[in-house]
Subunit: 568 residues, 2 copies
């Protein structure tokens, strides 16, 4: 494995050995390390000193189920702090097969030309991309696949990233070649746009694979993990219903964000639930399916393909977060409309969470009547056209709130909250408040814990535990659901896999915790240098005083708990 640096201004590429301090990190943890080592913390996120990084997790490269995720990172234009956003699809596997431990896109060009970077067995080259500028993600991906072959993995941006909108993400192809696995959060698409890179094509030579120190031991550990994962009941739930299964649970708790986070219960929740989604997709013509794998080797297959009655794909996948933020959060209970909103967001290359939250802000500002799907679609079209209102909404919920004069904005560190009302699921509220990433459910969701979610006591300890695990999984390249398998498998499974892969004989059972703690430590240090303080580790103040119906809860976890969460 090596480090690949590409200067986007001079178009020079340089291969370097992996520095010792980067060796034992991957994915999210490695990105935090690189940010600390290479990016001045006060650099402008869309300026030439920011670096856009691809880093596969430590376990990526051998089709371990749900463990081939790619982490993309840099300094976030949305939060101003550290940012790692990971995705499934084929990118992680391809980067690892190219022998790349981390790809660093540095500097920024001075002119207006756009480029595709191609990494293959022959090295690195830049191809002009001017013909792709302005094209949506779907059309761009189609042309790129025609040009570079159906086997290549591709990371690309849509018009949102080109426009440097702060809710822009970076799309990756799934195993079917559809550009739907988005590193969505924190505006990394805008960073890629600031460097005038429309796409990076990863085309490893056929058969290339990262070496295994002990192939036999690896296969054995893999088998143990797979069995544990397959046996876990949640694997079946996500297989059948996808993430949308969550809607029933959040509705039950009164924690489904509704009408601009003003309520926690949506009267139309059943029509946007996982059960209803499954039923609908089973009735629709192929390729509609409620069960679909985003990456090769995954046994969970939580993804889905959403078609209309004619079998035309509207979107894939339709996820719970999108259903929450672009459904109940806008008072919309029609899955077909939500799927269309999702499709436009995907095609523009936008985070559906921050965009949905921004539409919720528009709702509070009187620009979007609750439940008005046609108007929501028209607002998405404003973004596509780059109108001033479109740019406001594409800048995410925090900026939209400032411009539109709405104070009740559901953001932390400038990043919008996913679809778990934090006044009700208070442990997740602690995660939103204290994660170095900003509000993020994948940083530490607590809703499955058997606790009284409304009781502020003990939520910080719970959040801490989950945050550290998740930071560990993100460093391994493991999907949030892989955790079910690892948690059920023998305690040394991750250590066995890492020993077999790298020959690190000193790795112990506590490796997940060790990686997670180190990752969060590095991230907090970068944020500290970038100017973050305890005052940033807070939910918005209005959530501490405005009760959310029907529970009437406010966020009342003591500030001291937030301030000391990572001290113990």
């Amino acid at each position: 494995m090596h480090i690949l640096r590409i200067n986007t201004r001079t178009q020079e590429a340089r291969t370097e050995p992996v520095p010792p301090t980067w060796e034992r990190l991957g994915g999210r943890g490695l990105i935090a390390r690189i940010l600390l080592d290479e990016i001045p913390a006060t650099a402008e996120p869309l300026g030439p000193k920011n670096i856009l990084i691809w880093a596969p997790g430590l376990l990526v490269g051998h089709m371990l189920s749900s463990c081939d995720r790619i982490s993309i990172g840099g300094k976030s234009p949305l939060t101003g702090g550290v940012k790692e956003s990971n995705a499934g699809g084929s990118t992680g596997l391809a980067v690892a097969r190219l022998g790349i431990k981390a790809l660093l896109l540095e500097d920024a060009p001075a002119d207006d030309r756009w480029w595709v970077i191609v990494l293959d067995g022959n090295g690195v080259h830049f191809d002009p991309a001017d013909d792709l500028v302005g094209l949506g993600v779907y059309a761009s991906a189609e042309r790129l696949r025609e040009r570079y072959g159906q086997r290549a993995a591709i990371s690309l941006i849509g018009p949102a990233g080109e426009m440097r909108l702060r809710a822009a993400g970076i799309q990756n192809l799934d195993r079917d070649g559809m550009p739907t696995r988005i590193s969505a959060r924190g505006g990394l698409g805008a960073v890629m746009g600031s460097k005038h890179i429309k796409a990076v094509v990863f085309d490893p030579p056929k058969g290339a694979k990262p070496p295994l120190a002990d192939p036999k031991a690896f296969r054995e550990a893999q088998k143990v993990y797979n069995q544990a994962l397959m046996a876990h009941p949640q694997t079946t739930v996500y297989h059948d219903y996808g993430t949308a299964a969550m809607a029933a649970m959040t509705s039950h708790f009164g924690s489904l964000p509704t009408r601009g986070f003003s309520e926690g219960y949506f009267e139309g929740w059943e029509r946007i639930s996982g059960e209803h989604l499954r039923e609908r997709l089973l009735k629709r013509p192929k390729p509609a399916t409620p069960t679909h794998a985003c990456m090769s080797g995954c046994v969970i297959q939580c993804s889905n393909v959403y078609t209309n009655d004619d079998g035309e794909i509207i979107t894939s996948p339709l996820e719970y977060e999108t259903i929450g933020l672009m459904g109940s959060n806008l008072g919309i209970d029609d899955l077909d409309v939500i799927a269309q909103l999702n499709h436009i967001a995907n095609d523009l290359g936008l985070d559906t969470i921050d965009t949905g939250a921004a539409l919720g802000v528009a709702g509070r500002a009187g620009l979007l009547p609750w439940g008005d799907g046609a108007r929501a679609l028209a607002l998405m079209d404003e973004i596509r056209r780059g109108t001033p209102l479109g740019r406001v909404l594409g800048s995410g919920a925090a900026i939209a709130g400032k411009v539109l004069g709405v104070e009740q904005v559901p953001v932390v560190k400038g990043q919008a909250m996913p679809a778990y009302e934090p006044r009700v699921i208070k442990g997740t509220g602690v995660t939103y408040a204290t994660s170095p990433q900003g509000a993020d459910h994948t940083a530490g969701l607590t809703i499955r814990a058997k606790v009284d979610h409304l009781n502020p006591e003990g939520q910080a300890a719970l959040s801490r535990k989950v945050q550290i695990s998740m930071a560990g999984y993100d460093t391994l390249g493991a999907c949030i659901f892989a955790g079910f398998g690892f948690a059920a498998a023998p305690k040394d499974t991750i250590a066995r896999l890492l020993r077999a892969r790298y020959g690190w004989d000193d790795v112990g059972e506590d490796i997940l915790t060790a990686l997670g703690e180190e990752t969060i430590r590095l991230e907090r240090e970068f944020n500290r240098r970038a100017g973050f303080t305890p005052a940033d580790d807070r939910l918005p103040e209005w959530m501490t005083r405005e009760p959310v119906p029907p529970t009437g809860a406010v966020f009342d976890v003591p500030e001291e708990d937030l301030d000391t969460i990572f001290e113990s």
Copy 2:
């Protein structure tokens, strides 16, 4: 003197004695103290926990030349930190004559009605203001003066404050009753709008005056100060040319912000200079004049009245900062156009600095061709109409840059820079970077110092000295130009005035420094609690690497100097 608290939700008013720790402060220093004591540092600036404060400086109330300024303050919606913005006109005098040391507008109403608060000899009452909503500042002031008499002082907001735009200020009447003395900076107009207060009318009983402990000693010290002020050469310069005199000096140094802060020299500078302004106003029919007093008793009279050829007032005053930000910064060299832009900003109740800087951002984004006055006027009309683009521009330069995808934005702590290019006048750059107020020339302008402004050495010490003096003057209620008089007068003049006014016999010669140091200490502590760190005490990173023509200077004062500036 007493403290007056008015709850804008319940409409209850309460008079309280002055707490001992507030006693020896006024104006800016008292506002910092009140913020620390009463506003949770992480409160939302436009939420009910923010408090909008009027506090006259310690010397206000006796028509001491240039020393009757009103400080208005609260937590800034633009910077998120401490904010004090002072203005001339008649408000300071009237507040002091009502015996009010500080007026605190607390809480926020839950409904949509708007109010005028009236303070007079009979106490406090609320009058409906719904008929004034949407009216510009000029029409509003006219109606208010008809209703409440020509003698009353008034603080009021325009449509910008009503729309809660973050570049909105609070206007005050000048001694002629024109609503042109704006507490412009930091978005305090939006705070007033968030509390649904269109205006506060201050109507002290005739003849009311704050008591003097020793009237004779006060008159003696006043005489000494007045003589020193009158004898100072700068008094004559500002009397004849107003603040616009500065254009020649900044042009000479290459520090006149030009075309979105991309250059420091404007080829049309002579047409927007103080000399040209004076010449034009002397030719125009009355009431045009290059010499005009904003408050009673002022001997400097740096203000002006700008008319068209028919003698109709276009604006008053036309100040250097506006000429810089709405003139050279937009490539506009026609004073008539600049005066019209100024008029619209005044009528909307907008800070011309942050709005001008936002228009400069629009220029960099390609929405405003440099020098196109008609387009600039059309953009101001977008703000008036509250269109999405208008709301973006009215939100100030920092937010405009984020929405419009412009990284080279001239802001610190979210607040736009006045018309001194900080890469060239580096001491002022240090002030911009380190003032707790955000970028602000009145916090410590160094351009008159006899130093090499391009040499980074010693600039922090220079800035520190001036910042402390200015914080002291802002606490006294003294205009930035009163400093000429105090600096030239015997060293104990301020102490003599304070002793004679309050009977504080222990006040010594170092009182200006003591007040300034205490004020900055309090402000920094509030900012610290609000989440500010050394990373916020920086110029934007692009100014450290993009040279500004014609000097080719970058901002290169060492970060260590910025970090330690207030430590010694």
